[in-house]
């Protein structure tokens, strides 16, 4: 394993290290950039689609997560109840 700077730089040049690194970062940014743009435009496109195919009123939350939301609401309700019963004039 060579460790001196000159052969290290030579290894990078021979392995096309900088080229691959720049190309890789550009490709990652392009891919995620396109995903960003698609996410940004998605609500606008869906608004147009909703005029023809309106979204149903139910949120369609999956069973397990709907149950979790109920649990969270129950916990908040209990905390508020405890606070109010401790101090009936608490807002």
């Amino acid at each position: 394993m060579t460790l001196d700077i000159n052969s290290g730089i030579k290894n990078i040049v021979e392995g096309q290290g900088v080229d691959i690194a720049i190309t890789g970062m550009v490709i990652v940014f392009i891919a995620l950039g396109l995903i960003t743009l698609s996410i940004a435009f998605l609500p606008k496109i869906l608004k147009i689609i909703a005029k023809v195919f309106p979204e149903s009123a139910t949120t369609g939350v999956s069973g397990e997560f709907a149950a979790e939301e109920d649990n969270v609401l129950a916990a908040i309700g209990f905390a508020l109840h405890k606070r109010i019963t401790k101090d009936p004039y608490a807002k």
Partner: protein, 377 residues
């Protein structure tokens, strides 16, 4: 008596080396960290016990270790060496991931892209140290902070380094709460750490259903090498968000991912035999791994500060959120929350940090696909 003395020569104690003993101690330390300190127990405990099992010296002629053809451990290890387990884990990850924070603030996705600089700068660093390009690519992916992706790419590019890379990747993932905070404090000002971000908007169910299909098509068409990882990630997510395959999604994010995690962790640990693991290369890999994590954290942070030059008022990004661009989900996001709350207990950054955190998962899989395409083909 002859039979007894010949049996004694077949016991592991007669062939135990100092390297094996050291690795057994390391395995026990991993187990202790998992149980006593609660450091990533779902990973460290199977890996730790696997390390102990893999370093019991085996007798020649008895097919026992992961490297012996026909042994039970070798069949379990097939899922690692052939890159099968990582995509299956991504299926479970997709089935448990909520992309709505990312959908509500899409510009945070770019922080996940910026954090992947850790992969490519580490790639250059590994080349500098004399590793071959394929080895350097496998080492660089540690910077993605994604264990399954690291194992997937190492199995393809540098199978002989898989053990060291996997242990390094999972060890540093467990150390995210230790590595990231000092870098976050050095690279940000107090004023920046106090930035409160706009509350995320409501995301419709239709967006959550369409997103995995669109995102998969974009990522796979640009970087086909990522098709397996990204495909399984978004397949799992679509099963979750469609609400018509709840049984399948439930299985994927619970029993299925747990089964694969057990097999992957145990077999990766068992592959770290002293003869293949305790080498100067492994030390270099560990050093490069620490560097890659640090650079990835810094990359996300600095890009957030750069984006703030173009953003105004309540659209500004708290730069701490950039540190979550590494794909150590959700530990990185929790670290951002913790550091943010140390400055202001009423600043809740967790849900904002989840956006670059899950984007980092996609980014590291794309980076793996790019490295595979460039270094193999």
């Amino acid at each position: 008596m002859d039979i007894f003395s010949s049996f004694l020569t077949t016991t592991a104690m007669s062939t135990m080396t100092w390297g094996n003993a050291m690795m057994i101690v390391i395995g026990i330390i991993f187990i202790m960290l998992a149980i006593v300190k609660d450091y990533e127990p779902l990973l460290l405990l199977p890996i730790g016990f696997g390390v102990v099992v893999g370093n019991i010296p085996f007798v020649q002629g008895m097919s026992l270790s992961v490297y012996d053809e026909g042994s039970v451990l070798s069949y379990i290890y097939l899922g690692v060496s052939h890159g099968v387990y990582p995509p299956l884990i991504f299926l479970g990850i997709g089935a448990m991931t909520d992309f709505s924070t990312m959908l509500s603030n899409p510009k945070l996705v770019l922080l996940g892209a910026a954090a992947q600089i850790g992969i490519f700068l580490t790639f250059i660093g590994a080349l500098f140290l004399g590793f071959k390009p394929s080895e350097a690519g496998a080492i660089g992916i540690i910077g993605g902070a994604d264990g399954p992706t690291a194992i997937f790419l190492s199995a393809i590019l540098a199978p002989h380094l898989l053990g060291a890379i996997a242990i390094a990747a999972y060890s540093y993932m467990a150390l995210v709460p230790v590595i990231q905070p000092p870098i976050m404090r050095i690279l940000t000002t107090k004023k920046e750490r106090l930035i409160k971000m706009k509350a995320p908007r409501e995301v419709s169910q239709r967006e959550k259903i369409i997103f995995p299909v669109v995102a998969f098509l974009i990522a796979a068409l640009i970087a086909p090498g990522s098709v397996v990882l990204i495909g399984m990630l978004f397949f799992g997510n679509l099963m979750k968000e469609s609400c018509v395959t709840e049984r399948l999604a439930n299985t994927a994010r619970h029993a299925f991912i747990d089964m694969v995690t057990i097999l992957l962790g145990f077999s990766v640990g068992a592959s770290t035999q002293a003869q293949t693991f305790l080498t100067p290369q492994s030390l270099l890999i560990f050093g490069l791994g620490a560097l890659s994590f640090s650079v990835a954290t810094a990359g996300g942070l600095l890009f957030a500060k750069f984006m703030n030059l173009f953003l105004k008022g309540e659209n500004k990004i708290n730069p701490l959120v950039g540190a979550a661009g590494v794909s150590a989900v959700p530990d990185s996001a929790r670290v951002v929350q913790m550091v943010g709350q140390q400055e202001d207990p009423h600043n809740f950054l967790l849900m904002h940090a989840m956006a670059p955190n899950v984007a980092g998962v996609i980014g590291s899989a794309i980076a793996a696909g790019v490295l595979w395409s460039v270094l193999v083909l």
